[in-house]
């Protein structure tokens, strides 16, 4: 687990079992001004999330020990972290199929909401950053309207 600090406000947790993908995504996000934290161990991911209170999580699917899908369900059932938006980043399925059909086949429990976004590997950096920014902005609007503030520095 590691944390890199830059000048801007929002914190993003990157979860992927491959350190090279973590290095890539955290560099992309830090260059954009986000604060990042990361872990390659999906079993430690919940602790990392509780400790760092990220504004958004990017999550791989195919990981040993615990798949991203299993972690996602644990996260969404968590009272404090359940509202954190999740962007799946995976080569597991086509982006067009994932949110419409594949996800619900894997998670039949309707109380678990579909993820906010799915980005297919290899990522298009500009589109990935737009997805992240739009979800963080949406989170800000919700926080503002409810009079609550997220993890601002």
């Amino acid at each position: 687990m590691s944390e890199q600090t830059t000048t801007t406000s929002r914190k993003i947790l990157v979860i992927d079992d491959e350190p090279s993908i973590i290095a890539y995504l955290t560099t992309v996000l830090e260059d954009e001004g986000y604060v990042t934290c990361s872990t390659s161990d999906p079993l430690a991911a919940l602790d990392v999330a509780q400790q760092h209170r990220p504004d958004l999580i990017t999550l791989d699917i195919m990981m040993p020990k615990r798949s991203g899908i299993a972690f996602y369900q644990i996260l969404k059932r968590d009272a404090e972290l359940g509202a954190v938006p999740v962007v799946f980043v995976s080569a597991f399925a086509r982006a067009s199929d994932f949110r419409s059909t594949v996800f619900r086949k894997m998670v039949p429990d309707e109380t678990i909401p579909a993820p906010e976004a799915y980005v297919e590997k290899p990522i298009d950096v500009a589109s990935f950053l737009r997805t992240v920014a739009s979800l963080i902005d949406a989170g800000d609007s919700v926080a503002a309207s409810s009079g609550r503030r997220g993890n601002a520095p």
Partner: protein, 365 residues
Amino acid sequence: MISSRIKNWIRTELFDQVPTCICVIDRDYRIVEANRAFSETFGAWHDQPCYTVYKNRTTRCEECAAAETFCDGKTRARQEIGVAASEGKPTHYLVQMVPLIRGDGEVRYVIEMSTSISEIKRLQQEKLTAERLAAVGQTVAGLAHGIKNIIMGLEGGMYVVGSGIRRSDNEKIRQGWEILEENIDRISSFAKEFLEFAKGRVPQVTLADPNRVAQQVVELFRHTAQCSGIELRSQLDKQIAKAPLDEQEIHTALANLTSNAIDACEMSDKSERHVTLITREENGKLIYEVIDDGCGMDYDVKQKVFTNFFSTKGLRKGTGLGLLTTRKIVQEHGGTVSFESTKGSGSVFRLEFPRDRFPSPTEEN
């Protein structure tokens, strides 16, 4: 009670009304009687031998089912290929031989009843073609999936190097360069393994003791398992008969399964973990099973178990070809691979080899 009118109809009309081709042949294989369906399908038959009418032959068939029935008086069924005059092309049919036995036990005539199964054969062929195309599609999809992951790594490496240059951050540049090197290594080992898989090898089948190869695999992995605190056991059926196996290939298949089982146990946090290799004989099949009480598989993993390049082991441990190779080896031996798995409880991988589908041994031990 069946009325006498119907009984009479059955006696006089049924022979010509049934959609099955029926003919009666004598001991010289000449057709002495045939029904309407037979005449319509195979054309003129009067006083001609059955092999001429069915197959345009001038001599008796090499493996003649009628001859066997004349000899032993038993009813038998066989699939044949003949030329139906009505279709003018080779047609598959199922023919049943029924003896007409005299009081003294001599088989005087044989009734041949044939039903066309050309449509079933056509559907079987279509299914086989569809399965082959699906396998090609799956392989191409698997290859594309593997390449996508490597592209992600290469793009990532380039991005991190670029970011390091922009920031004048040597550590970033070094990190990006390492990612590039790692993914170049990865694509070359993928290419090698894929070529190896595609090339295959001619199985060297000899009559071998199925337990011997199982025992060798257990010995091979005993130390590895022990180091990870996993008990590796074997339950081998001592009575098991020899079988035509390519021992080297079966060794590879069992080693793949055992290695996977050990990995599955390593991923589990249970205090006691076991891997068991079993051999047994059941309903004319030789069966190998590799059972573990490790982490098991959830839905998404189960869906992709036999997909090329799918691995849950991360970059350094698996290329994802292991189970696919196992399946290929088992299929070359006429067998099938199946598995059952429950997340958190463990998995059973089973190799089943019907003894009547083994390839012929090239030499005997």
